[in-house]
């Protein structure tokens, strides 16, 4: 574990040097939030109206939190870079190191979002408080549970994206599959809470990674309840175990197929 802690701290230090670059991405986040404030402002026509059990403020905060996770996590390390390492042959230099390649990538990724996410969280809170108003009845005491749920959600997302990237052992370009995975997460989890979908679809959506990756953490922040927290954490535990099993399996099978030309 110590070697991964060293990798984490070195990536963290490196990213702290370029923290100002993260701020350049704030414009994109602001555009999305601005659009959703306008959109939900149009959809809610009377004050206090509920849509799928959410007030206008809760709905906008939900989108702000899910978008914060999406923008703040930036998944280049587990998507494009892994695929590039495999396709370009760079993986050869990483395989002979005294760590497991997939855990190395996950640790590196965690070091990256440890700088990005808090910056986006701060921006989200400022935009939310100024443009929407503070969240009513926000339980400060539950912040550690929410933070744990966010960390698990990001890790599960990274594991699944890494699994897709590992298919580069068999196919040349996995980018289109990453697009599709991203879009499913965006459309079914980031833009709307699960409750907004037809009743029949909701149990199905709760069985997908969307429930643990974005709905769970955002739901807890917007409308916390201890029962919901336990339910989401349990689902995340199961998903993380299954995802990691899948990741090691794909990596184990893929690495045997690796064929690198000299250069």
């Amino acid at each position: 574990m110590r070697k991964y802690a060293v990798i984490y701290s070195s990536v963290l230090m490196e990213n702290l040097q370029y923290a100002a670059n993260v701020a350049l991405g704030f414009f994109g986040y602001f555009v999305f939030i601005f659009i959703f404030i306008k959109l939900w402002g149009y959809m809610y026509r009377t004050p206090g109206e509920l849509i799928a059990g959410y007030t206008k403020e809760q709905m906008i905060w939900y989108v702000m939190m899910t978008e914060m996770l999406f923008f703040g996590s930036g998944a280049a390390s587990v998507a494009g870079e892994v695929a590039g390492d495999i396709r370009g042959g760079n993986i050869v230099y990483l395989l002979n190191k005294p760590y497991h390649y997939t855990l190395y990538v996950l640790t590196k990724y965690t070091g990256e979002w440890s700088v990005r996410l808090p910056m986006y969280a701060a921006l989200a809170v400022v935009i939310g408080v100024v443009m929407v108003g503070p969240l009513p009845r926000f339980p400060l005491a539950a912040v550690p549970a929410m933070a744990l749920c966010v960390v698990l959600g990001l890790t599960i997302n990274a594991v699944f994206k890494l699994c897709i990237s590992l298919f580069s052992f068999w196919i040349e370009d996995t980018t289109p599959f990453q697009w599709l995975y991203n879009k499913l997460i965006v459309v079914l989890g980031i833009l709307f809470p699960v409750e907004i979908f037809p009743q029949k679809l909701q149990p199905l959506l709760k069985m997908t990674p969307i429930y643990t990756v974005c709905y769970g953490p955002a739901k807890l922040i917007v409308d916390f309840s201890p029962e919901k927290c336990v339910e989401i954490l349990a689902a995340q535990g199961v998903y993380l175990a299954v995802g990691c099993g899948l990741m090691f399996l794909i990596y184990g099978k893929g690495v045997k197929k690796l064929y690198v030309n000299g250069g």
Binding site: G25, G28, V31, Y42, L180, F192
Partner: protein
């Protein structure tokens, strides 16, 4: 003069043709990129089904208008990225001093730069947009208007990207900002203009050219208005003119990166 223009167009066509042929070397990857991009765009119909289930319209747009909006946006974005993909990474070329290879060519510098790359997945965007608009049954006149607005939309996107990219001649770190502002247009352009009011609406029509690229064209296709049509055509020509002027003004300040490279 006419011969020079003809030659330039011929070089551009060949450049785009060879870009696509190079990408088609691996057919499976090419087809996957195109197909999945179309599928990727299609997932957003779910978003609008949900929103329109809650309210009969969003910002005055029903499903047909939403499909026209998405179709026009996707096809214009697609066409600009098929023909002029390099416009969207112009900042990077300028900052890294990679323009040298284009400066020594006997053809127009800006056109050579713009047509030097093709984004294959944009073919998926273009096809998706065209199919979506056909599904709206716009009629013969509507379809010709759509084709015209795809061209004006592509000109507006490209010109705006060139304008933003050219600012790199004066300012550093414009590469990230160029990308974000251009993607901002795409984000705004996939939502109805009816949800934006006041200052934001004015900005989106005249400063960030979303209104002229997609919203006005959708209004013209739904209910023909010659005034709006001429406004869009005029705006596209004006923006193209401004972007070309700014690029060449900035080019005078360009300093080579002493980067060794060749374009074959």
């Amino acid at each position: 003069m006419l011969t020079a223009v003809k030659n330039q167009i011929r070089v551009c066509s060949l450049s785009v043709k060879y870009n696509i042929m190079r990408e088609m070397v691996n057919k499976v990857t090419f087809l996957t990129n195109v197909g999945f991009m179309a599928l990727n765009n299609a997932t957003f119909l779910v978003q609008w089904m949900i929103l329109l289930r809650l309210r009969g319209d969003v910002g005055g747009y029903a499903m047909r208008e939403i499909m026209l909006l998405w179709g026009l946006m996707a096809a214009s974005y697609g066409l600009s990225h098929i023909l002029f993909a390099r416009a969207f990474s112009l900042s990077e070329l300028i900052i890294k001093g990679k323009l040298d290879a284009y400066l020594v060519q006997p053809k127009n510098v800006l056109v050579s730069v713009l047509t030097s790359s093709t984004d294959v997945s944009a073919i998926g965007d273009f096809l998706y947009g065209t199919v979506l608009v056909c599904a709206c049954k716009p009629g013969m006149g509507g379809f010709f208007l759509f084709l015209l607005f795809v061209v004006t939309g592509a000109v507006i996107f490209t010109a705006f990207a060139v304008l933003m990219g050219s600012l790199s001649f004066w300012f550093v770190r414009m590469d990230m900002l160029q990308n974000q502002i251009v993607m901002g247009i795409v984000s705004f352009g996939t939502y109805p203009d009816g949800i934006f009011k006041g200052v934001s609406r004015f900005l989106l029509y005249f400063i960030i050219p979303v209104g002229m690229a997609v919203w006005h064209p959708v209004h013209v296709i739904v209910g023909f208005d010659a005034g709006m049509l001429l406004t869009v055509l005029g705006y596209a020509a004006l923006l193209a003119g401004i972007s070309v002027t700014v690029f060449y003004r900035g080019l005078r300040r360009y300093a080579s990166g002493n980067l060794m490279g060749a374009r074959v």
